[in-house]
């Protein structure tokens, strides 16, 4: 089959609109001796991306990741970072400067945590009474108490933690991992996102966007309730061979079309998505169905309790996906449910009740299956909260404002240390003062566990070698690694 290469309208206009100017510029530069050596033609036009497993830069510790993302900003001094000094100063003026985000409701009064902390596990990690289940597995986790990202609002916090920089439009962490490593399964999406029955978190699709990475690496959103993926069954008359015939013909046409539009990443992604869709018909149904999980496993996560049922189910699904070779799973909350500007004393325990048992069960279950060594579990949001009161209108209305200058999150498995606390905030919990971990340091460390050098995992874009850590001076935090 011989067809002339088509020239698209866009190419024609580009060449004719800019072409003459370019020639003129080149001759001017040459005259002034400024013309660089000709760039080797980029192979972009022939680039074809796929999700087959890729060899990392060096031997990896981690193969998969489950991120339990807690949008809103979980309050570190009520959950992970005990501050006796804050309790001592409760109700008194904060002795220092505070970086507020919401000035309208700002107060300078210290807000000592209403909850008790106790030493837990062999390691003696201090954890709040709001997290009784996490308390039982602290010997498996690394708790980072000195996270920072620098801009105290949700969007920037999310972009930093999920995209590597505080600006919008960048690829999510899951996209980088699947871009760098491919997938261990060709029957399920490499990057899956489990959404909450209450809806998506704020900033919605930005949680799982591929940004400017090829469309193939975007997260696939799974519905929060059955059927979790729609349309898995073909019409009865076309099931089996007739459908295979349909897809084969479609692929033939699409490949032919792609050969005339080389390097068009959306067209490639669309072809791959049909191939995956065909395989998912049985694989996804099986993976997303937890009905055959043993009763003791369901009970461990809390499927039997209406309060924990949703999160427990999604954590079990996350584990099942990783077992079947999915590279990156993110379990999302709704809205920004951890954003307690007010009524913290009643709202925060509710969040914990719904998520503590399933999150802890995920660690125990992965460990018991021998998967924790190669699976990173991450629990955290886009920021933390301030040590002072917000909304000083009665105890039941008290809340805390945003804080990205020092907050906590935990990670487990995949080569992270066990029973280890990293970093410290000041005596009141406002700012990281010892062993600060910037969001990009965390990303560099995480990529190292996956066998990837953060400075080498790059994507060519507008002449730049773009990366997750993006030349911000990221350093691998070796103390976090076992």
């Amino acid at each position: 089959m011989n067809r002339p290469q088509l020239c698209s309208r866009r190419h024609f206009l580009h060449a004719n609109g800019f072409g003459l100017g370019t020639v003129a510029l080149a001759s001017l530069l040459e005259r002034d001796g400024l013309l660089a050596a000709p760039v080797k033609p980029e192979s972009f036009g022939e680039m074809r991306y796929d999700l087959t497993p890729k060899k990392p830069h060096f031997e990896p510790r981690a193969k998969a990741m489950i991120s339990l993302f807690m949008m809103g900003g979980p309050s570190q001094m009520d959950l992970f970072d005990p501050k006796p000094m804050l309790t001592k100063y409760h109700g008194q003026k904060f002795p220092g400067e505070i970086k507020y985000d919401n000035l309208a409701q700002a107060s300078a009064k210290c807000f000592g945590s209403p909850w008790k902390f106790e030493k837990q596990g062999q390691c003696g990690m201090e954890i709040s009474e709001l997290l009784p289940n996490l308390s039982k597995v602290v010997d498996e986790i690394t708790l980072i108490r000195s996270m920072t990202s620098g801009v105290s609002n949700h969007a920037q916090g999310l972009y930093a933690m999920n995209g590597g920089r505080i600006t919008a439009g960048r690829p999510a962490l899951g996209s980088w991992l699947t871009y760098g490593l491919g997938s261990e399964t060709d029957e399920l999406p490499a990057y899956m996102v489990l959404s909450h029955p209450g809806g998506l978190p704020t900033f919605q699709g930005e949680h799982f966007t591929n940004g400017w990475l090829p469309a193939l690496f975007q997260g696939t959103l799974v519905r929060p309730t059955e059927p979790r993926i729609l349309n898995l069954d073909p019409p009865a008359s076309l099931a089996g061979a007739p459908q295979e015939r349909q897809l084969a013909l479609l692929k033939a046409f699409n490949e032919d079309h792609l050969s005339q539009h080389r390097g068009e990443l959306d067209l490639q992604a669309r072809i791959s998505s049909y191939e995956l869709a065909a395989k998912m018909q049985t694989a996804a149904k099986e993976a997303l169905d937890i009905s055959k999980e043993p009763e003791h496993v369901k009970k461990l996560y809390g499927v039997d309790n209406p309060i924990t049922k949703d999160y427990a189910t999604r954590c079990i699904i996350a584990r099942r996906l990783v077992e079947r070779g999915v590279r990156y799973v993110q379990v999302l909350n709704a809205g920004q449910s951890w954003d307690q500007h007010g009524s913290l004393i009643t709202a925060l325990p509710k969040n914990c009740e719904a998520t503590d048992q399933p999150s802890a069960a995920l660690i125990s279950d992965l460990k018991q299956r021998g998967l924790l060594d190669t699976t990173v579990v991450h629990w955290g949001g886009e920021m933390g909260r301030l040590p002072v009161l917000q909304n000083d209108a009665g105890r039941e209305k008290w809340g805390r404002d945003h804080n990205t200058y020092g907050f906590s999150m935990w990670v487990a498995g995949g080569g992270f240390k066990k029973g280890y606390v990293h970093g410290e905030t000041d005596e009141f919990g406002h700012k990281a003062v010892i062993d600060e971990v910037k969001h990009f340091d965390y990303h560099a460390t995480l990529l190292k566990l996956f066998g990837l050098d953060h400075s080498k995992l790059t994507y060519k874009r507008n002449g730049l070698a773009a990366s997750l850590t993006d030349n911000q001076g990221a350093k691998v935090v070796d103390q976090l690694i076992a």
């Binding site: 975007q218 019409p235 046409f253």
Partner: protein, 116 residues
């Protein structure tokens, strides 16, 4: 967000969703081209090409592929309808169903979905 995504559930949607309005249109497209040129599959296919892609099918291998698809699919659908019990009054039409399933493919193809 929807306009920017290319994930597998979208492909499942275009391939499997039964209540899609597009499905009706694909059937009507099949009916239309069949009525315009009864018993001439090649002519029907040329008409589909001009209606969907606004140009004739110049590559004859495309037409050959479609013709053999229609043959095989008609056989498979005839067998399917032979094997199942139909509700009273339902008269299956396998050649027409095959043509509709072909129209579905062409409507799901990148050539149709992406404007150059």
């Amino acid at each position: 967000m929807r306009s920017q995504t290319t994930v597998a559930p979208q492909s499942l949607f275009t391939a499997h969703e039964r209540h899609l309005r597009a499905r009706q249109l694909q059937r009507r497209l099949a009916d239309r081209v069949t009525a315009e040129a009864p018993n001439d599959r090649a002519k029907q296919l040329q008409r589909v090409w001009s209606l969907l892609y606004s140009k004739p099918a110049t590559d004859m291998s495309d037409i050959t592929k479609c013709l053999s698809y229609l043959d095989e699919q008609t056989k498979a659908l005839t067998q399917y309808h032979h094997d199942i019990q139909h509700a009273k009054g339902v008269v299956p039409n396998p050649p027409q169903e095959a043509m509709a399933s072909l129209c579905q493919i062409l409507c799901s193809s990148n050539r149709f979905l992406y404007v150059e």
